[in-house]
Each structure stands twice: as C-alpha cells, then as structure tokens.
Symmetry: C2
Subunit: 99 residues, 2 copies
C-alpha cells in the first residue's frame, strides 16, 4: 500500500525535479556528441561506430543492474539517444562537406 503522504502530486513533483536534472545532463551530452560529430567529419570517420555502441550498451546494462533500473528500459532509452546522435552526426558531416 502506498502511504497517503506519498500523494500523486508529491511523487510527480519528484519526477519533475529529476527531469530537470536529466535534461541538463542531455544538454551537456549532446553538446559533446556534436563536437564528436565535427571531429568525425574533419577526420572522415563514419557517423555510426558499432564497436563503440556495443561498449556503451554493455556499460549501461551493467550500470542499470547496479542501480536497480530495468535493463531493458535502460537499453531502450540508450537506443533512442544513439539514434538521435547518429542522425546529428550525419547532418554535421553533410554540413562540413558542403562548407
């Protein structure tokens, strides 16, 4: 039974606070991956690096287990993030070639 003091409103306030922190983290993460995208474009490296991705999925799966987060959820979120990163890297490479 969820205690009355843990009202829906109070729990949602916690979610909102956590989302503030998560968005700040992603802002910094994409700032760095965009630099990586430029580095790749300058050095003619492919936007997608399957070996790196494999390492990342392994790390995140282990971290999820350590923190008590469902591993499938952690992997699904990372997959979405990597999709966005690769799309950005392709756009950066295109802009670099046409500049």
């Amino acid at each position: 039974m969820v205690k009355k003091m843990d009202s829906l409103e109070s729990m949602r306030k916690s979610i909102d606070n956590i989302d503030n922190a998560i968005i700040a983290m992603y802002a910094e993460r994409f700032r760095i991956t965009n630099k990586i995208g430029l580095y790749k474009a300058e050095n003619n490296l492919p936007a997608k690096d399957e070996q790196r991705e494999s390492t990342q999925f392994q790390r995140v799966t282990e971290l999820a287990a350590a923190y008590g987060l469902d591993e499938t959820i952690a992997r699904q979120i990372l997959e979405k993030v990597i999709d966005c990163v690769v799309q950005n890297h392709r756009q950066i490479a295109e802009n670099f070639r046409s500049s």
Copy 2:
C-alpha cells in the same frame, strides 16, 4: 576545428561519466513511477494520463530551450521514457488485480 586536446577518447570519457549520472537519475525516476503505478492501481486510475503527459512535454520543451538542447530530441527521449512508464503501469495494474 575541434582542438586536438579534445581527443575522441577524452570526449567519450565525458559521455560515459554523464551516462553514469543519467542512469542513476532514471533508476530513481522509475522507482518513483513504479510507486505511482501502484497508487493508480489501488485507486483504479488509468495507466495513461494524457493531461499529465501534455504538461510534461510542455515543461521538457521549455527546459530544453533553456539548456540549449534540441527540443525535438528532448521530446523524442521523453516519449520513449513515457512509453516505458505506461507499460510498467499496465503491468502493475494487472498484477494488482490478480493478487
């Protein structure tokens, strides 16, 4: 031009450190949403709450703009997270009814 000192390895290390923090945040976020799932099941509330989701997308869009994160990316990630949460809430409701 990306400076040489910002090597690919160094930038990837930053990404890994940020991912540690993000996974820890999600672990806490899903711990709370699972409590919300139980609260909803106990109070016979639907797993999906479109009004709440609309408020969340609005908040996250504003936060992304404030932090300099691409708003479409922020919304895509939130969409994936909410999908996982709603799936969890449905499972929790099912377990609650059959207990």
